[in-house]
């Protein structure tokens, strides 16, 4: 049945169809993980510690709590149980992020697998996307597989004429990303960017043959950042150092440092099991798959329609 036009007018064109496709893509994601023996888990949205990324402003939820900008630390706590593969589809929240590819609240897919590294996760990510595109009822533009791969240093040498890992300069790095790398990425279909400079390791492991690089990749499709993955850091002491550095960084930026997640640290005091993990933005994946150019047109109630 058709809804009255006054109601439909608030939504983008053909929005009922977009919602059906969105539903179908999410079902495909769940099927993919279910058939591979992943356990779907559920972690809290209201949390005590918002994590380790100094550039993410967590949404304040009052009484010392925040809305989780990512389920990472809680999911990693679950890795200490006897479950080898776990995934979650949840809502994540980030203050001051609003734009063509950003909405303060968004849907995140995150998964972890023991006994693998970022290369294994990269393969699985490609398999997931291939699996979704095989669903015949979806009008998905066919992607060329396998996706291209490029190292961060290679990308900067090509587009900005310098090598970040050799000559680290954070301001220059991000400035060039926005001015030179980002426009280049828009010309690419599926592209894995790997081996980030160590200062951007977040919670990933350093590379064994070169400590200035870390085992981290990001997936871009047509210039949209879709996913971020690591060979997960396992060392307890190093976790402590990374948290401390992130706190220091926030102080330097004049922002409140986030408190260290003590429960998480206790759980991994014997080390985190060897594993790979990834966070993937579902809204953005849907944008890329349906060739829709604004996140507001794939989210049901984005900020602009609240």
């Amino acid at each position: 049945m058709k809804c009255p036009s006054s109601t439909a007018a608030c939504f983008p064109e053909n929005f009922s169809q977009t919602l059906r496709y969105r539903h179908r893509i999410i079902i495909q994601i769940r099927n993919f993980f279910d058939t591979r023996g992943y356990v779907a888990v559920d972690t809290p949205v209201r949390v005590k510690s918002p994590g380790v990324d100094p550039y993410i402003d967590a949404v304040n939820a009052g009484a010392g709590y925040y809305l989780a900008p990512s389920p990472e630390l809680h999911m990693k706590r679950l890795l200490c149980l006897d479950i080898d593969r776990l995934y979650q589809i949840t809502h994540a929240f980030r203050e001051n992020e609003q734009g063509q590819h950003h909405n303060c609240e968004f849907m995140m897919l995150e998964w972890y697998r023991k006994g693998t590294d970022y290369a294994g996760i990269m393969e699985e990510t490609e398999e997931l996307i291939l699996y979704i595109t095989k669903e015949e009822s979806l009008p998905i533009s066919s992607f060329r597989f396998p996706f291209e791969k490029v190292a961060v240093d290679e990308l900067y040498v090509k587009c900005a004429d310098w090598r970040p890992s050799a000559d680290w300069n954070e301001d220059r790095y991000f400035h060039d990303w926005v001015e030179k790398i980002d426009p280049y990425l828009k010309t690419k279909e599926g592209l894995f960017i790997c081996d980030f400079p160590e200062p951007l390791a977040a919670l990933s492991k350093p590379k064994e043959d070169n400590g200035k690089l870390c085992q981290r990749f990001e997936l871009f499709i047509k210039g949209i950042e879709i996913a971020n993955a690591y060979t997960e850091l396992t060392d307890y002491e190093e976790h402590g150092r990374r948290f401390k550095n992130a706190r220091e960084k926030r102080r330097q930026m004049g922002k409140d440092p986030y408190h260290i997640d003590e429960e998480f640290m206790r759980m991994i005091s014997g080390g985190l099991p060897e594993c790979g993990g990834i966070a993937l933005g579902i809204d953005r994946l849907i944008m890329a798959m349906l060739a829709i150019d604004h996140i507001d047109h794939v989210q049901t109630f984005p900020f602009s329609r609240l």
Partner: protein
Amino acid sequence: MIDTNAIRKNLKIKIDGDPYVVVDFQFVKPGKGQAFTRTKMKNMITGNMIDKTYRSGEKLEEATVDEREMIFLYSQGSSFTFMDNTSYDQIELSTEQIGNAKNFLVDNMEVKVSFFNERPIEIVLPNFVELEIVSTEPAVKGDTVTGATKPAELSTGHTVNVPLFLESGEWIVVDTRTGEYVERVKK
């Protein structure tokens, strides 16, 4: 001073003493990195477009631009004269400052004039204006092919594409933002 979070289309800011208007902007945030806002802005005096990227949290100075309702009186050579509805003050703007608006400007039209530091800098037309067709090919009767158009010269000297059934002497509504024909006016 305002924050980069306040950047919106049509926000007016001051750079090196000149007023600029934000024409387009984009929030960009590389993973694990600081956020930026990329903007495209127009210098409101010279009309030049510039691209400027701000880091999140950078401070911008807002440009105070006043708008006054005025009536277009007449043009002479390259000068256009407007009058304030209440004070009867008259001001002049040049062809460059008027820009494309001259295509739709007719005597006695009510417009908004923007002032920066007491200086008139640009005019904003109503979104829809009624204009007379002064010359076009004769109407083709019975030709109802959807979307077929022909050029028509308006009383301002500007030419727009109109449907085939319209004749010289008829009045039409034009959208001044797109410059396109909207509908026929029954007079």
